[in-house]
Symmetry: C2
Subunit: 470 residues, 2 copies
């Protein structure tokens, strides 16, 4: 059986300020209605007779993954939580162990969650070829046929043909210089290393045991200690942390005798930067990609994105990337967007938060957006999903006013439980034990005005939580 494995552990700092640690690029709808993660899942489910997808992600993104699967009506084959990031070899090992636990003959189709593929039919045909090779015990890498001399990817040099389906891998090569990349392109025997793979789970684990036994051992111990937490597979953190950190390429594929490549030309892009997103996006006659409320005067070759309720106007500029969000705006030269990382590094060094989360923060129960702050007060717009509830909680340093602007909220405040309807308000005194719940079928939208001497998110005592966060 074919099991898609979606690797969703990336942090996507090069797409800051849209991509942030608590909602990195794979979970953003960058190119239409669905996030890159959802697109990846839907693409995999387009393959005949495929099993529900196994997702490997970090603990911090577990609710996002669950929600995004639910939003596209897809049942999960398991959401495996990486306690710490240890690169792809250990992550795939966990997925392989999870797959063989129910299907000893599982074949894994491993896909990073943040890639774009335009020609899905070509991709499915390549998967079919790869499956045939996997049945002959090959570990297959998908190699993208280059259409220009890219210097930002690693390459795979093909060796002898393996029937009609692919080639033995002669060697992996690192990101080349310009001249070498041109030579690879002219040669025709090189593919881009896409980071997508297909192989028998058992075969992968065997090869891992031969070439990287410490990784296999750590993954086995971590998975053996796994517990189920809601829909999540929570492996033993200490055991997993003991694993060496290595990529599948280095740990296994460069060492095994059974590495194969299936070349494919499927309109693939890794959306690795704002310029690569610009290059694959639809653009207007001035070669601009604009999103949101933008007035572009004499502007060319640029990517301009305005945040909701905000206008971005440009005058006489070329080849810029302008990404506007509620709390931060980036203006970068399009050929310098790799250095967006320098901004994120600076934010980290300064102990700031704009790389960690957006002003609007997603929670398993909905979201909150800090729309106004001043001395001793803060205003939040809060949305509670149908059927959802915030934790039963109290604060030591702030009181809260709640005004319902849409829906019906069930409010617990110390001993009282009551409904708060549209256009009604209530007051939660400092120290009161309280909870907000939405028993209805429509979202509850409310405005919270906090007042107090300290208004940080860490002034919260969770007494009970349906999401296991207390």
């Amino acid at each position: 059986m074919l099991h898609p494995v979606v690797l969703s552990g990336g942090s996507g700092t090069r797409l800051w300020p849209l991509s942030r640690q608590d909602r990195p690029k794979q979970f953003l709808a960058l190119m239409g209605e669905h996030s890159l993660y959802q697109e990846t899942v839907l693409r995999a489910l387009g393959i005949p007779d495929v099993q529900p997808p196994i997702t490997v992600c970090s603990d911090a993104h577990r609710f996002t993954v669950g929600e995004q699967l639910q939003a596209i009506g897809v049942g999960s084959g398991g959401i495996v939580l990486e306690p710490v990031a240890r690169n792809t070899a250990p992550a795939i090992a966990l997925a392989a162990l999870h797959a063989v636990a129910t299907d000893p003959d599982a074949v894994l189709l491993v896909m990073p969650a943040d890639h774009l593929i335009e020609d899905e039919a070509a991709f499915r045909a390549a998967v079919e070829h790869a499956v045939e090779l996997a049945e002959k015990d090959w570990l297959v890498a998908f190699g993208i046929t280059p259409d220009y001399a890219e210097t930002g990817y690693g390459y795979i040099r093909r060796g002898e043909p393996l029937g009609d389906d692919g080639f033995r891998i002669e060697r992996f090569v690192e990101k080349p210089g310009r001249a070498t990349a041109e030579q690879y392109l002219a040669d025709g025997g090189y593919s881009w290393n896409s980071g997508m793979f297909l192989f028998s789970a058992r075969r992968y684990l065997e090869e891992l045991g031969i070439h990287a036994p410490a990784i296999l051992q750590a993954a086995q111990e971590a998975y053996a200690g796994a517990g189920a937490d809601l829909d999540f597979i929570r492996v033993d953190a200490e055991a997993f942390a003991a694993s060496p950190s290595d990529s599948i390429d280095y740990a296994v594929l460069e060492k095994t005798e059974r590495a194969a490549v299936v070349p494919v030309s499927c309109g693939w892009s890794d959306i690795g930067s704002w310029s690569s997103l610009w290059s694959v996006a639809e653009r207007d006659e001035a070669d601009n990609r604009t999103e949101g409320d933008v007035i572009a005067v004499d502007t060319r070759g640029s990517f301009v994105r305005a945040a909701e309720h905000r206008l971005v106007a440009t005058v006489g500029v070329d080849d810029l990337v302008i990404i506007d969000t509620p709390d931060a705006t980036l203006v970068a030269r399009k050929d310098r967007v790799q250095d967006v990382k320098a901004v994120v590094d600076r934010l980290k060094a300064d102990g700031r938060t704009e790389h960690l989360s957006h002003r609007k923060v997603h929670r398993p129960w909905g979201s909150y957006d800090s729309i106004g702050v001043g001395p001793r007060f803060q205003v939040k717009r809060i949305t509670v999903k149908p059927g959802a509830a915030l934790s039963l909680q109290k604060h030591h340093k702030r009181a809260e006013h709640w005004i319902v602007v849409s829906g019906v909220a069930e409010v617990t405040c110390d001993d009282r439980v009551f409904d708060l309807h549209e256009n009604e308000s209530t007051f939660i005194p400092l120290g009161s034990v309280h909870r907000l719940r939405n028993r209805g079928t429509a979202p509850v939208e409310l405005i919270e005005v906090q007042s107090g001497s300290y208004l940080g998110e860490d002034d919260i005592v969770r007494l009970e939580d349906v999401y296991g966060r207390s």
Copy 2:
């Protein structure tokens, strides 16, 4: 007696998005603590034996002018409201009529409100020379000694010397081309036309009567029909509207035999665009001017301004102007900032409001800022100044929740009048007659949550208003 006349009628569209119709550039603190208008007033008051300043401004800015004078502790010599804009000749005529009403020998020092002068001592010395010429019945223009070949200003060609104090004006010349400007600079006999003038009020009115009698007549009729409205001089609108629209240069100075120029070198700038503001501002070692929360990576020669509570990050850009405000951000090439006007024209054509007012709107009683909007609700942060009161009002289509976060508000709601303290809230039902007042000595800060089917500013019935707006 010397009466400063500050012309504050400009709209300052080229400094959008910071400068907007209801708070144009002369009222903004662009270069420090005080607004350009306040700087202009304080500069004038640095002249010995000077009278309180007469301000000519549009009706829409009357409260701003009053507040800004009060903020610097300056008594007003009169705030003359232009019912419509008719350029400088009629505006100065109103000021002259106002001055001679109490001081028949008034000498006027006319200054646009939006200029910057770095060397005030040099300016005062020039005023002294001009006063001596005005006493000999000359109408004096201040001519700025050019330090480069500017093509954006008009020039004044000096004629024969008038003692040590100045020169007869040979002629005014329009904005020259590059080559002509170079020639003017080399010649040494040309000054920039600063728009600042000094003359006897009576003499100006006489010359106006000779060269532009229709303007004089309109101004006289308008001023004769003036009424006092609070501290403001509100002239007859219909009479003033009948005046031809013309500048003092065209209407009088180019025609009279008694036009003189006093050259001065005083670090003058008209702050006519973002690039001119950049050029006079203090800059860092990379030639950048940054204001607010800015992270500039490999950025040169740029003006970057972040709005409060927002971060602007730049990567690898040169010679840009980036002006960020709560509802709109401009990104322009520094040598293309004249075309910011094209954005404003587009906003006008589209019936938008981002050129009219900021998200935070100033009112005589304080300010409001629309910090959040959604379907059927809006959240405003409202500040009421000590001693101030909103109008007694009601709304047909919205109810309001008020939560006081600082100070003590006196609330009128139908028949009830009560105090609302910090951290208390109240509800104003749809249709209720209500008022908010601050009887205290500290500002009242409150959060208003509006709910209803229509939330526009025009759903207001003012029943009583201390500012004469009902």
